[in-house]
């Protein structure tokens, strides 16, 4: 993540789904500093929520004690979001959205993230320390 721009938000929490409401509220407040466009803000909230869910369910596999770090900052014309976990490394090529025509519960989170973000990249932290998801969304120009 870029080091020069100030953080809009940094929050550390555990992989307990009861944290999701608080995270959404903090993200909403931070994103709303950048635009009055409520749809844009809602998209950011959705993507972060889905990404956190993926970490809770698939990286930490339900271990509610796992730590998650979320950072948000504006970098030029983009909102930059980084989500870090310290779970065992996940191969990036295993993270795929499912075909939407395949009607079944589950598997929509990655699709939602990619639908509303302009860029997203998964990587492992150095020395197997965990995983990082970086997402970028182009800022809107308020009318």
């Amino acid at each position: 993540m870029s080091m020069t721009e100030p953080l809009l938000l940094e929050i550390t929490f555990v992989a307990d789904p009861s944290w999701l409401s608080t995270v959404r509220q903090r993200v909403r407040t931070a994103a709303a500093q950048l635009t009055a466009d409520s749809g844009w803000v809602a998209d950011v909230v959705m993507a972060v929520n889905e990404a956190c869910m993926n970490v809770m369910q698939h990286a930490y596999k339900g271990d509610v004690a796992g730590e998650i770090v979320l950072k948000m900052r504006q970098v030029g014309a983009f909102l930059e979001i980084a989500l870090l976990d310290f779970a065992p490394p996940i191969a990036a090529d295993t993270i795929r959205p499912r075909a939407l025509e395949d009607l079944r519960p589950g598997g929509l989170g990655t699709h939602f993230i990619r639908a509303v973000m302009d860029r997203c990249e998964y990587a492992n932290l150095a020395q197997g320390a965990g995983n990082i998801l970086r997402m970028h969304k182009r800022l809107v120009v308020d009318a």
Binding site: P17, M53, M56, Q57, L103, G107, G109
Partner: protein, 106 residues
């Protein structure tokens, strides 16, 4: 988030209020599947739902599929705009039955 079950016009109506996320979606899932398992046509009243994530959507899909297996009616009642946007993103806006009011005389 609150869940209430009422019976109206022969339907079991599961009234949902608040945000449906991973912390609540299993409760929602159980609340929707229970009346269907008992053989009741079921509606999910979504008018009070202010947020839903993919786990909440999964609960709705599971209920839809359970209803189809038993040839029971299952629909979404008074879906709010935030929820309809998420359903459209998942391309489920053509899958569910959407109602604005509870049908009479079931």
């Amino acid at each position: 988030m609150s869940i209430k079950l009422v019976n109206q016009n022969g339907f079991s109506v599961v009234v949902l209020n608040g945000e449906i996320d991973l912390s609540k979606s299993q409760e929602v899932r159980r609340a929707l599947l229970e009346p269907l398992a008992a053989g009741h046509p079921t509606l999910a009243d979504m008018s009070g739902v202010t947020y839903i994530d993919s786990s909440g959507i999964a609960a709705l899909v599971e209920a839809h599929q359970a209803a189809r297996k038993k040839s029971l009616k299952f629909g979404l009642l008074a879906v709010s705009e935030p929820v309809s946007g998420v359903l459209a993103l998942a391309r489920l806006d053509k899958v569910f039955s959407f109602l604005t009011e509870i049908p009479s005389g079931q």
